[in-house]
Symmetry: D4
Subunit: 214 residues, 8 copies
């Protein structure tokens, strides 16, 4: 593990056997394993394998992200809140990816879903929660306006994640990415669908705040 952030196993494009083997190794060496972009079949195979090799391990799954925690894992606690906000249904798995990374590091999570700018009052209703977070991850697809809007309403640092929803020109998350890089409010950006990177960056900031608090 680099910088205290666990190396995640990107399951997509790997064989089920490879994924299981990599997860078992991670579990042995770091007491837990983090897997992203996991298919249903890969999860099933993982369950079967771990029932044998690590029967005490707990398997958490959110969207396409999986975290396996060994019985010896010494869960840290940071006492710092990462707000994780998603605009629409399709943005949720990206938020999940970020959430599992932050939770693994012991951050407290405040998760807010379905506050896309098409129904702005729902967004505005949550402003206090956004302000109470120590750091915010905001994931949005299509035109990706949500992180820009939220960053204009809070003092919290915002990490924006463009999501690969939408079709036609600017689809695959490119419109959201370009818009976030051009944002007229202050925020920093990670790559399209890179929930893992956003979570890891938020964790580094949360740790800095945690150290300062002590």
């Amino acid at each position: 593990s680099r910088r205290g952030i666990p190396e995640a196993i990107l399951a997509e494009g790997k064989s089920t056997a490879q994924v299981v083997a990599l997860a078992e190794t991670a579990l042995e060496t770091t007491d837990r394993a983090l897997l992203t972009r996991v298919s249903d079949d890969q999860v099933d195979a993982l369950r079967t394998a771990l029932a044998e090799s690590a029967p005490d391990a707990t398997i958490e799954r959110r969207g396409t992200t999986v975290r396996v925690v060994g019985s010896d894992f010494d869960q840290p606690e940071l006492g710092v809140t990462v707000g994780i906000v998603t605009a629409g249904t399709v943005d949720k798995p990206v938020g999940d990816e970020a959430e599992i990374v932050c939770a693994d590091a012991g951050a407290m999570i405040d998760r807010v879903d379905d506050v896309g700018v098409a129904a702005l009052t729902r967004t505005l209703d949550q402003v206090e929660r956004f302000r109470d977070a120590d750091v915010l991850i905001v994931a949005a697809g299509r035109e990706g306006a949500l992180p820009t809007v939220i960053a204009g309403l809070v003092d919290t640092p915002v990490i924006a994640v463009p999501v690969s929803s939408g079709y036609g020109h600017g689809g695959d998350g490119e419109a959201a990415l370009a818009g976030l890089l051009q944002s007229c409010t202050v925020l920093s950006v990670v790559n399209i669908d890179a929930g893992f990177v956003a979570g890891a960056q938020a964790t580094l900031i949360a740790r800095a705040i945690h150290s300062a608090r002590r």
Copy 2:
């Protein structure tokens, strides 16, 4: 004039002599001339020339758009309101281009400037004015979030104009254009900086409403 929309003279890339000649012809044949992307030098030359050839004509100038109105021009009146909204300083000339086209056709204009989403409360304060317009033109650069936000708050048809502000990736208005095509609220779009086209399209809608009112 096609569809009752005056042909505008795109001054950019034309010589001053060409621009003056085209303006004089337009004035003679249609009792006014509309010029877009006009430089200071071209305006000066136009003033000098018209002082001779058309001393009774009035010269209106907003941003880089110029309208010359002959003394015989029979100003129509539509009794329909086009709301024209711009996000930042740099978006104003694009709004001006749209405004002059609509005003030429006799539409009533409700102009709202400086309501970019970075200061969202200023946007929200104007919602009633947006709702009262019959048709809205909203121009915004950089990430171009403003038309999306406004279209989520009103029932009025919104024509969005991406503006070529911003630098880096997605600059030249490309981020705003892509974001508006991906907008999660309902709107239609014209090309980057195409204030003229937005004004002409709003005019066609305004005329349809005007005809229906009679």
Copy 3:
């Protein structure tokens, strides 16, 4: 429903179970459901489910768009005509998507298919119908010339929809989109294949005309 436009359920990329559940909810809360980019399997599953949960509902299907109307639905009537024009076979489902949105809002539809510019006389033969519409939606793929040609022949506001046909450079609708943004006649544009957005925008204009007529 936002702005009186029903939220459409984008079926593509959702599981059949999700699509059915979302449709049933929409039917319960708004007395009808609108689904776009629906597969054959999803339609079948929907039929089976609704036979149980909503036996009185009517299922309309055009191309890949489905509308479920509950027996209590109070169909509005606008008395305003939306012309919907498509260039080739492949553009029809995009026109269908637009048509169902407009029809749901009670607009009268005048549909004209197969009038691509390769056989220009067929286009010219329909000019009177194009002129009689209150607002026009024109969908065309490949080079997307049809909306430009029609917008030069009528006073009606034209909303152009580029369609993702064609292969090679400029395929996926990008040539048609760029050409429509550059159109030398006045029109506004929605994203590639965005029949739903075009229909919704036309509906907002139709409602404005309808209100004015009263």
Copy 4:
């Protein structure tokens, strides 16, 4: 001269001295010189130089293209008509470039300007002239619809030239190029603003027809 097509001197990006020297060499070796993208200053310098070095030579200039013809030049005659059609003012210099190449080879030219699709009846009025040509060059900028429309109305082979007019997305001639490659009528294409290449290709076809006629 390759393939009987004179090598043209691309003046843009060369010093005035280089341009003059290259033109004088071409004149000496092939009895004429063809220069494209020539600036006013370069033309003046050329006139001054040739007044000394080649006082009998004739200097023809159309738009930004210049042809210098020596007194010994043996003008060929092809008896084949190349139709050269341009859509708007800005497309004319591209048509001029093509025209001078074809005329140099002795083709008869039928030139038609200002028949852009925004005023379709003007285009349709000229169909007989388009049909009477043996080969057609059609230059158009912005959305580049004109070559597609004309190719649908004639049996003559059409060579389309996209022109770098227009601003915003698809500007610099990219929309026109992509649209022409996607054209739903049969035509072949040369690069943006490549009037010289279109003229040269038309000349090769004209020569093939000329040979066949004998």
Copy 5:
């Protein structure tokens, strides 16, 4: 049929039933049918159907192109040679598409395969055949250098077809297309893989030569 060029049925993306129906209609109305991008399954279905509906018809297949000729078809003869040249194995089906269109119109075909520039002597060995053709179609993928090289060696008009071979940057035929538009020898271009368009354009030129010969 437009311009005497048969409308081809683009089988890709159509159901087998649609393809068969369209082919039967074309056969009935024009005595033959031309189909491009046909799959093995579609060919089989076509054979079965035509065995019933048109037992006298002949089915020709080259690569992914199919031509069905009715017993009443009156095969024209042009007495003009179209040279069709391909660089590598993967370019052959594109050449086949062009060939079938030209042959349908009665052109004589001189086909040369496997003369890519990697083995330049093989190309140079065929120069006489290239020179003897009345018009040349040259198809090449990857860097697409072959049409440029050939056009430098002959006086014949060359129509270049970029082919969508190659992987990585510039794959999908984009490198070949861009290179052909930038070609330092005279040629005109059709879209990537557009063998049909190249064949149709060559046919129009061949007909012009044929008319001149009479």
Copy 6:
């Protein structure tokens, strides 16, 4: 001022008069003014004007960034260190832009220049300083490898700024931006040359740490 970050005046593209006026207003209302992308002429005019209107104000200039501080300005102090690292000469002004924003907010700055990866030992020599910072801004152009390398060596959160150096493919900072979004080490990104945004984001993080420390 939004989020305690002063609005910067983007001088580029504004007239000297506008820039001076905006700076004077900012100075009056917030006791200082921050200007980015300022030309030499604009700085001179600013000096002249302020000598009259605000003789007590101090003018700081680094690269193309200018900060005017009024005599009443109450300089905050954060006691948090922002490390600012640049790769080459051309990256310095971008670092300066970031530095002035952070310094304005009272952060302590540790600036390290000329540690591009071409001379890796120079980079490695500074690792302790990178580790001692509370938050790092790393600016690099061309291939933009420096932020990736540093982020692999420290636990500090890294904000990467791609810089618009380099020519050819991937120039204008696009290669650096894409590489940073693809970085195999954890970091977040701002737009090309957006030193201001990086500095503002670092300031928000520094404030969060500052609050935690108290």
Copy 7:
């Protein structure tokens, strides 16, 4: 075989029958066959076929590359070392492709895997091996920083291969390619995933060194 480099058979996109036939021909005519991008099924079919037709041949397989060596093959020996370095797991098959080409030509191979810049010390540990090679091939995906870092540490010529790993903006190897073209250290580049070309180019250099050594 051109330039002493065997023609490789690109198996991807060819039928199994074609691949087997091409391999058998290559084996007969050049005593071995080199196949790239081979699927599992294609390998199985090849094994079965060769068991019959060439029972003495040896089949080597690394990643997706296969080399069949006949019993008569006269293996050359170069006495020159090609270092082949890969950054991560996903880059290995690209390194394998290069390795098999170089080994076929008789180069000595020094292979170093898993030295991506995220764990820089592992890279630095291998510097002596990098320096001892006569020519280096370095393959890396995502941001592609590894070849840049290594080229700054050695005097050996470096051929960089960008690899198509990564998702989002700059995925498919485009970020790595652009970054390598912009590299601030000296290296040359081949296309994305083009391990074969890198191996062939390294072989040509190795042969030049080999000749010089004699």
Copy 8:
């Protein structure tokens, strides 16, 4: 100097004063200075300054590249030939940049200009010289076919330099770059116009051959 390759001073975008100062420092520390993309004014200023500060130094200038050699410079000699080949006039300065780097390192240069593929026989006439070089640099713009053609005729390693000539689609050297990456003959590539990098890479190969020869 890194890897024995002198650091070049990229004059473009630097002030004349900066360029002079950097050149004087390089001359003092390494006994010579290498400057790329130098303007006429910068050369004049350099001459004036060096007349004072280093009257014994020799100033070599080719195209836009300048090399200043001090009287103490110990010119190495490699006894290895780098062939430098350019296609057209516009490619020469790129060849010059490469040539000066190689000559500085003591390589023998065999320079061949004006052998673009439009006049293929001129290219073929030089094949023996291409074969006699130890390493080849080939620079070509527009479609960039020349390096592909040459690499098919020789066993020498070829480093290809795409040049930013040409206008329209694929201009700025992008067509040539993409074509060279897709080349069907074996070569490696540097960025557009990167004559310096090509020369440096050729020098590294030349040194490896030189060492082997001893």
